[in-house]
């Protein structure tokens, strides 16, 4: 067990959503993990596996049905809207679609200054100065401050969203498919920026992605989610070179490799992921995690 208190610790959180009728979506089930200072924990899985819900639970955009979220050792699970506010400065989030995350009628400089104003940190000239610094930090020019979102390319817009997320000097940035909608050349540039910022500012990332090749590049540790539960958790090396859960192996097997010399003759895969929707009062079985080597946890099958 770590003696150092991690930045974030999640203990057995669950979240269900009602559907029409009496069924429930078991979006996240009994998930436990932690994020250390300065590290990137990637959460990978396919559509509907619960990775975004998990992010929203950590940042308290959703309230968990059970379990606890600890921020630097402090239990923030039951804090009210007013009490949680100071802690929001510590955790910021960047979403997939930068166009949807920016108000089309608000100048980007104003958008980036908004968190400073909301949290009473800076206004007026002081805020402008800080926003200018943030723009330079993410590789945009100060002269772009007065532009509107539509005047930017997708990659530049995502840089604006990153600048806004960094405005409050957070310790954790949650990137929820933050590079997924970008063209590959832009994706690489934004990922390089994220790595630079991590070095420079000591940030931790919770990097949510469906793309294993991207995750392999950016993560220190990886959690694989399947149907609402973490089925494998370990260092990047452990998960990618020594996957122990059948679902992780299946995912890795499915990723196309950008090298024609590594073409594999693969058997035709079949089968799809079952639905996470269960009738009320029933639900999937909770997996039992076993530590197969230090820091490498795998669900028993």
């Amino acid at each position: 067990m770590n003696t150092v208190v991690p930045l974030v610790r999640v203990e057995g959180v669950s979240k269900q959503f009602p559907t029409d009728g009496h069924a429930r979506v078991h979006a996240v089930m009994k998930v436990s993990l932690h994020i250390d200072h300065g590290e990137t924990l990637a959460v990978v899985g396919e559509s509907g596996c619960g990775k975004s819900t998990l992010a929203n639970l950590i940042i308290r955009l959703h309230d968990p049905d059970e379990g606890r979220v600890l921020l630097k050792g402090l239990d923030i699970t039951d804090l009210g809207p007013r009490e949680i506010r100071p802690h929001r400065k510590t955790m910021q989030i960047v979403f997939q679609d930068p166009f949807a995350s920016l108000d089309p009628r608000v100048r980007v400089g104003t958008a980036v200054a908004e968190p400073l104003r909301v949290h009473g940190i800076a206004t007026g000239e002081e805020a402008n100065e800080r926003v200018g610094e943030l723009f330079e930090l993410v590789g945009l020019e100060r002269s772009m401050l007065r532009n509107f979102p539509h005047q930017f390319s997708g990659g530049q817009r995502q840089r604006v969203c990153i600048a806004r997320a960094l405005a409050l000097n957070p310790e954790l940035v949650i990137a929820d498919e933050a590079v997924s909608a970008l063209d590959v050349s832009v994706q690489a540039q934004v990922m390089n920026l994220m790595l630079e910022l991590q070095q420079e500012l000591g940030l931790s990332y919770l990097f949510i992605s469906h793309d294993l090749a991207v995750v392999e590049r950016i993560a220190h540790r990886v959690a694989v989610m399947y149907l609402g539960q973490v089925v494998e958790l370990g260092s990047r090396e452990q998960v990618f070179t020594n996957p122990r859960h059948s679902y992780t192996a299946r995912l890795l097997q499915a990723v196309p490799i950008a090298d024609p010399r590594q073409r594999r003759d693969r058997p035709l895969l079949t089968g799809e992921i079952p639905s996470p929707v269960w009738p009320a009062g029933t639900g999937p079985e909770v997996v039992n995690m076993v530590e197969v080597e230090p820091g490498h946890l795998v669900a028993e099958e």
């Binding site: 050349s185 540039q189 990047r236 070179t241 950008a258 024609p260 035709l268």
Partner: protein, 282 residues
């Protein structure tokens, strides 16, 4: 003679040239990968081959030739054909599948009937015979529980199953060329692997040539025989897949390749690593 020869194709939207002097050929049974980033002109090229681009848009095919070799050996320039002729070519000679199968399928008809419809129109089959063939197509594209699934509506199926239905519709008239425009982009990676595997297998079974349009270099590396790289409306480089990936000459291609994360490239490294961008991205 190639199955399809595109020569000097140029397509404009008012002042903007979306496809600029594009040329390539595809041989029978071959898989040609068309790769490029958003807005590079990949889809406009495909829609121009099908002569679908001018429908309801301001696009204009400003020049070039798209020559298709017909089964009797004659050559047809698709850009000069009238609409009835094009209708007989679409589906029969060249079929197309798109990224989002849900918008390609009619929501108010069971999927089986939609396959049968294509067979009735193009092959002149009767209703009953067409349904029997539709059922066979379900087996061809490996849809499990085919007897139950054939009566389902599109919304009752998953994305992967819907794309299988689209492939079944596209292949039911045994086209000699299939154009697949980002066919797996909306799908999860395990489903993508299934669909790509299926397309490859069907190609072996039916001998159909495939033009695969994608932004994903991984997909290209897995399935293409030859590749054309598009950037800003032009073909910047083309060649066999090995050559494109291992000895690209153009700075744009080199840049693109340097930005692609390759699974396995981080093995043995402790820390995350930035991309070492090359070529035009340097």
């Amino acid at each position: 003679m190639a199955l399809l020869a595109v020569d000097n194709l140029t397509v404009t939207f008012d002042e903007f040239t979306a496809v600029d002097s594009v040329g390539f050929t595809i041989e029978p049974g071959e898989t040609l990968g068309v790769v490029g980033e958003s807005g590079s002109g990949k889809s406009v090229t495909a829609l121009s081959i099908m002569r679908l681009i001018e429908m309801g848009t301001r696009a204009k095919i400003a020049g070039g030739r798209v020559e298709l070799e017909m089964p009797d050996g004659s050559i047809l320039d698709l850009l000069t054909q009238d609409e009835p002729t094009m209708r007989s070519i679409r589906g029969n000679q060249i079929a197309m599948i798109f990224q989002e199968p849900l918008t390609s399928l009619n929501p108010v008809y069971p999927v089986g009937e939609q396959i049968a419809e294509a067979l009735r129109i193009h092959e002149g089959l009767g209703r009953k015979v067409a349904m029997v063939r539709a059922r066979e197509m379900f087996d061809l594209v490996r849809i499990p529980e085919a007897d139950k699934r054939i009566g389902q509506y599109p919304h009752e199926m998953s994305g992967g199953m819907r794309q299988r239905v689209m492939i079944a519709i596209a292949l039911c008239c045994e086209p000699r060329l299939l154009i697949a425009d980002e066919p797996t982009t909306a799908l999860d990676v395990t489903i993508q692997a299934q669909i790509l595997g299926l397309i490859k297998q069907l190609q072996v079974e039916t001998g159909t040539a495939v033009i695969l349009i994608t932004h994903d270099m991984g997909v290209i590396a897995e399935v293409a025989d030859r590749v054309i790289v598009m950037n800003q409306s032009r073909v910047v480089e083309q060649g066999p897949v090995e050559q494109i990936f291992h000895s690209a000459r153009e700075p744009y291609t080199q840049g693109l390749l340097s930005a692609v994360p390759r699974l396995g490239s981080m093995a043995g490294k402790d820390e995350p690593e930035a991309f070492h961008l090359a070529g035009s991205l340097r």
